[in-house]
């Protein structure tokens, strides 16, 4: 019965396929994605732009729910029914697909030269020899502030840590605003908006991150404990009961105008633009002393790769080269302010807040979150442990030194850096 059905299906597709072939020489590409929020952008802007420039190739964007994406994609790839183009999660999830032979090697793809090594690092093998996804977008960390509140209190965006705490102190003394909107209840806020936000200035971005992977630096070293020490000082400037404040609470506190500073990721921009009734500005994580090189977390979030078993590899590569082009970057970055193109060519963006964020790329050095590459492969998972420890340090239930020691101990228990 099943065989017959299968046969019928095969016949059906072959008939339809030949019929289509006789009609036109079109190649159809299907994109697998978890970004169902982006469906209108793909359908109205990106795909028409590509199809206009490349007649003969039809593209369909077929997203699934974010929580189901990984499982659904794996099942489709195993069954051989997955689309031609695969949206890639950063790091290990995609690396596993590549190792299993599901993703094609794109190292020599035309357009790859438009990306820096940091941009590509999320979709490369550990040795950096093969790249398997075209980087699409990243998110940048920093602080968004209430411009009206700053003007009212006569504060300018702080550049150094000293100025940063002076500003917090001033807002607190004034009493009209909660100095900073962040909670520790959901844990990840403390790690992602806290530790990974300010950390790169301490461990000098890529330099420290790579040294940690190589085992030359330890999480107990001052440059890794330092951010925890600063986080511990944040405690006094957070709202009442921050221990039970959730992520949506923090967002609301800020957009309702009750808090002055919000430790942010750039993905907040479009949401804040529609919610907040006041002017907003942004500043990068403050440096230790004026004139220090600044480092920002410019974390790779979305890439796109090719199904190794696609029937139209040429068309797929053509599309991927287009994704790597400045044209795509410009359309995408403007449609989704806060998701920044990873292309080395500067992209002109309309949104002022997004412009501010992306301008830091010129004056600061970019890095990605320290815990994402390689270091979160084992148990205990360094990223998840960093969530817990960052929250502990801000809550004051653990000292920065203890947090560093425990994280290093956990990492040592399974990670042996290659000598």
């Amino acid at each position: 019965m099943r065989n017959k059905l299968f046969l019928a299906l095969l016949m059906g597709t072959s008939v339809l396929g030949t019929a289509g072939g006789a009609f036109a020489q079109d190649a159809t590409l299907t994109i697998e994605s978890w970004r169902n929020d982006d469906l209108p952008i793909w359908q109205d802007k990106l795909i028409p732009a590509f199809e206009a420039a490349n007649p003969g190739i039809k593209v369909t964007f077929a997203p699934s729910a974010p929580t189901e994406y990984n499982a659904a994609l794996n099942a489709k790839l195993d069954a051989g029914s997955a689309g031609d183009l695969i949206t890639c999660r950063p790091f290990d999830a995609s690396l596993e697909l590549f190792n299993k032979g599901h993703l094609g090697d794109l190292t020599d793809l035309a357009g790859m030269e438009n990306f820096t090594d940091v941009a590509k690092s999320a979709w490369q093998t550990d040795d950096g020899k093969s790249t398997f996804c075209v980087p699409m977008a990243s998110v940048i960390h920093g602080f968004i502030y209430n411009k009206d509140a700053f003007d009212q209190l006569g504060i300018t965006p702080p550049a150094t840590e000293e100025e940063f705490f002076a500003a917090l102190e001033k807002i607190k003394a004034d009493g009209n605003y909660i100095p900073m909107a962040m909670g520790t209840k959901d844990l990840w806020e403390a790690a992602t908006m806290g530790y990974q936000n300010i950390g790169p200035n301490y461990w000098h971005g890529e330099e420290g991150r790579l040294a940690l992977i190589k085992g030359e630096q330890k999480l107990t070293d001052p440059q890794w404990v330092g951010p925890f020490e600063t986080l511990a000082k944040w405690k006094h400037y957070l709202g009442d009961g921050f221990e039970a404040q959730t992520y949506p609470d923090s967002q609301n506190l800020f957009t309702l105008g009750r808090a002055a500073i919000y430790p942010a990721g750039s993905w907040e921009i479009s949401g804040f633009n529609t919610q907040a009734q006041f002017k907003m500005g942004a500043f990068p994580p403050p440096v230790k002393a004026a004139g220090d090189t600044c480092y920002i977390s410019d974390h790779n979030d979305i890439g796109i790769g090719m199904n190794a078993k696609t029937k139209n590899p040429e068309a797929a590569k053509k599309f991927l080269s287009w994704v790597a082009s400045p044209e795509f970057a410009s359309i995408y970055a403007n449609a989704l302010p806060g998701f920044f193109s990873l292309s080395s060519t500067p992209v002109k963006m309309e949104d002022p807040l997004a412009q501010e964020f992306v301008s830091w790329r010129d004056k600061c050095k970019s890095t990605i979150r320290s815990t994402y590459q390689i270091l979160s492969r084992g148990t205990p998972n360094l990223e998840n442990e960093t969530w817990v420890k960052s929250a502990n340090v801000i809550n004051g239930t653990e000292t920065p030194q203890q947090a560093g020691e425990e994280l290093q101990k956990g990492l040592d228990s399974w990670y042996k850096p290659a000598k």
Partner: protein, 310 residues
């Protein structure tokens, strides 16, 4: 006589098997097979992409590895505390409520009964969300109401503090489920025949002493059943913690119970990939713990409970 017994014995009584079959079949399919599947899974481990039989190595890791065992004992300890809260708070309150409700002079008994029972039918997600809002230090009604009576200084963000979070969640769970012991005890109290009560009154046993001396001994079997239900329910609990505190059971794993520990291990979380084998190991431990608890109850307690026939 002899021939008759022989005749009634010899044919196989098919109808028993036929009537049992649906239940046995479904129960085997959805309960027994998965249970043995889990136990089997806990004896394997995936090494370099190949599933291998490793005997009790996973259990050795769970108890021998300092990190695994710390997590496990933490979760078990929290679970025991969670159970104690229910035994000490939920069940006595349930019994007291039932005793009050069964008082013949109480008016609106049906209304109270329904009102107290309603939270039980609410979804965990709703309960978790409502209480998170009630206790929210920013928009919650708890700080506001405490302020009204001048107790604002007693308010702390309970769900965010290591020392209070688990107890708070325990009490939320008590609030949700106090209706169940209440209903069971209420039913048991109603089934006490009037003659027994009247006889007691004739002997001059009334009021509180009537409850302690006559009614309580008669409802002890019901209390035993409630205790075992609480035990099984608590050691299988997961939903409330997950919906209120998330899979990481923060702060600092202070509210991590066996259910959330199992979930995190089995399915993975954020960057942590799932480990079905260690997950199954934890699930097996939960099964053994519950099995042991139920056995202790069945053999040590239930056999000693005195039953009264009316």
């Amino acid at each position: 006589m002899v021939t008759e017994t022989a005749r009634s014995k010899s044919p196989i009584r098919w109808h028993i098997a036929v009537f049992l079959a649906p239940a046995v079949l479904i129960y085997t399919l959805v309960m027994i097979l998965p249970l043995f599947g889990t136990l089997q899974l806990s004896l394997y481990r995936t090494i370099d992409g190949v599933r291998q039989f490793v005997g009790i190595d996973n259990f050795r890791t769970l108890f021998g590895d300092p990190r695994w065992s710390a997590s496990f004992w933490n979760a078990l300890g929290n679970n025991v505390w969670f159970f104690i809260i229910h035994m000490v708070v939920q069940n006595p309150i349930g019994i007291a409520l039932a005793a009050i409700l069964s008082h013949p002079k109480l008016r609106f008994a049906a209304f109270y009964r329904t009102a107290i029972f309603i939270p039980t039918v609410l979804s965990f997600v709703v309960v978790g969300f409502i209480w998170k809002l009630i206790l929210s230090p920013l928009w919650g009604v708890a700080p506001w109401m405490m302020d009204l009576v001048g107790l604002k200084s007693w308010f702390t963000p309970w769900l965010g503090k290591e020392e209070y979070a688990l107890t708070t969640l325990g009490l939320i769970s008590v609030w949700q489920f106090v209706g169940i012991p209440m209903m069971l005890i209420y039913a048991a109290l109603l089934s006490i025949p009037d003659e027994v009560i009247e006889a007691a009154e004739m002997d001059g046993i009334t009021g509180m002493s009537q409850f302690w001396k006559i009614k309580l001994p008669l409802i002890l079997p019901a209390i035993g059943i409630i205790s075992i239900l609480t035990f099984v329910g608590n050691f299988n609990a997961f939903d409330l913690i997950y919906s209120a505190q998330g899979a990481m059971a923060g702060p600092n794993y202070a509210t991590d119970i066996l259910g959330t520990f199992l979930y995190r291990t089995f399915f993975g979380f954020q960057l942590q990939l799932g480990d079905p084998n260690m997950g199954a190991t934890i699930a097996s431990m939960m099964f053994f713990i519950i099995l042991a608890g139920v056995c202790v109850y069945l053999f040590a307690i239930q056999t000693r409970l005195r039953r009264y026939q009316f």
